[in-house]
Symmetry: C2
Subunit: 308 residues, 2 copies
């Protein structure tokens, strides 16, 4: 059987079910990062891991520096989505034999500068010859206070759904985004987000992940979604597709309604990043509704992207 | 500049020097695993990471189960080389689009069964489409009591050099080896190994790593090296090359001379694995001597293997 015939998510689910899980595992596969007992008494250890491959996640011509930076940034985004801080990273770098030393240097510079910016140490790695194309797999270990760890599965009916930044920019910024560590820490320290995820699969797909994990539904208003100025003048269809695209790396979270006024009063001033309420968590697990600009209710658009 | 022109070890050294290191890092790049402060007060956290790629580290036809198993086993071998125990693993799995679901399942079964055997949890991962060939990058997080952590750089003149198991079997067992976790823990708990490494680059290359890190030299006796029965009847030249081959995944360590009698009395009974003294650590940093079967002194043979 070919993988495309069962789909990537089913494959991951099936493979995950084969793997053993111990009692020190608070959350294994199925959130942005694994959450583990056994470090400091009041903290969890977090492990996030992600790979990027040439011609699938980036083109070689996009620049070695930015490709290296992205390989780390996607993992920092996952640590942020748990409310945590990164501590250490390891890098597995598959190098096609024709790649120049200069290219490798630039790529590592991209990793190193982002690591310095977010004060984590790169503590190990492996370089190997890749049969075809650059492959970078990065694993980041981080930490979060137990009481501040934000899972995907805590969204409750009545919570407000919010998103940081503006959406529809991923085609421009998917290599250059700033992982929302600072914003997530601020949120976890000053508010009580009930569920959080970073937008990597797309707004609608990632909100669906939160809903499934939490056993709830969601209604969002199309006009409320903060759109990039790049989308001005585009047709409604193009705009909607762009708003749902993957690799935005913004935070998508739910928050008790009682905290929304304070969030809107302080978040942007304290973090320098915009935050926008876009909808509500509802009780009905099956419902995923988008209220269009014309007031008509429609289902979430299909995100469509799949690796296989 | 092409990578082959500067060599893999120089590339790794140069790239490593670009990466930032914090004060919670006891040992970053340059040992079998990274050693980190910040977990339990009397323990270090360990992070090992390693990738295996099709047609470089294995052939697809060798069997999905064994390939999956190996991707985890090489990392357990690194955790063992620090004297530690594995806790958690994450798996990055690059899947060529033509690979069958059945193959993926078998590969994960190989990972899962080894994880169960060594009581660690597989807590996360990423699957992605690989442009060409299977690529598996595994990261293992482990733990070791501070006083039992064994680095590469502690070998002292007068220490006896020992190796577990028999060498010259890597062509047969490089996929099926048993990571020496049990043996390493026994050693770290009952003896005082001064330096340790797992044999992945080859006996002579890995002993050279210990010597460089520790600032010492080494003399070993060719006749003392425990040879696989497979090598019987082979020419001296073939035998010597096999004894120095990579991917043996046995432990190579140095031990104070005062502990050797006890080691030889108890190790094999307590672990079920052979241990053999093969030489001595000496003061002269530059010396790497092999005393041949004819009593003549020669330099270490070149290991020869390089990825680029």
């Amino acid at each position: 059987m070919k993988i495309e015939s069962i789909g990537e998510f089913s494959l991951i689910e099936e493979l995950s079910s084969l793997l053993p899980d111990g009692e020190d595992v608070i959350k294994g596969i199925g959130d942005d990062a694994a959450v583990l007992k056994g470090c400091r008494r009041d903290s969890y250890l977090l492990i996030a891991t992600d790979s990027i491959a040439e011609d699938i996640h980036f083109r070689r011509s996009s620049g070695a520096y930015w490709i290296g930076r992205k390989s780390l940034a996607v993992n920092l985004s996952d640590i942020a989505a748990m409310g945590g801080s990164p501590l250490w990273a390891v890098v597995n770098f598959g190098i096609p034999s024709e790649l120049s030393v200069q290219y490798c240097r630039q790529l590592y510079r991209g990793i190193a500068e982002l690591a310095e910016e977010f004060e984590l140490s790169v503590v190990g790695g492996d370089t190997f010859r890749s049969p075809d194309g650059i492959i970078i797999s990065v694993t980041v270990v981080g930490e979060v206070e137990k009481k501040r760890c934000v899972f995907r599965d805590g969204a409750r009916p009545g919570d407000v759904i919010c998103v940081t930044g503006k959406l529809g920019e991923s085609s421009g910024k998917h290599l250059k985004f700033i992982p929302r560590i600072k914003e997530a820490r601020y949120l976890a320290e000053s508010f009580s987000p009930s569920a959080m995820i970073d937008i990597s699969d797309g707004l609608f797909a990632d909100l669906d992940h939160i809903c499934r994990a939490s056993g709830v539904g969601a209604v969002i208003g199309e006009a409320a979604i903060p759109a990039s100025p790049r989308l001005r003048g585009k047709s409604e269809k193009v705009k909607l597709r762009a708003l749902g695209s993957g690799e935005e790396f913004e935070l998508l979270f739910s928050l008790p309604e009682s905290e929304i006024d304070d969030l809107l009063s302080y978040f942007v001033d304290d973090t320098g990043t915009a935050v926008t309420p876009i909808g509500k968590i509802i009780d009905d697990q099956g419902r995923r509704e988008l209220i269009g600009r014309d007031g008509k209710v429609k289902p979430f658009p299909e995100s469509g992207y799949t690796h296989f």
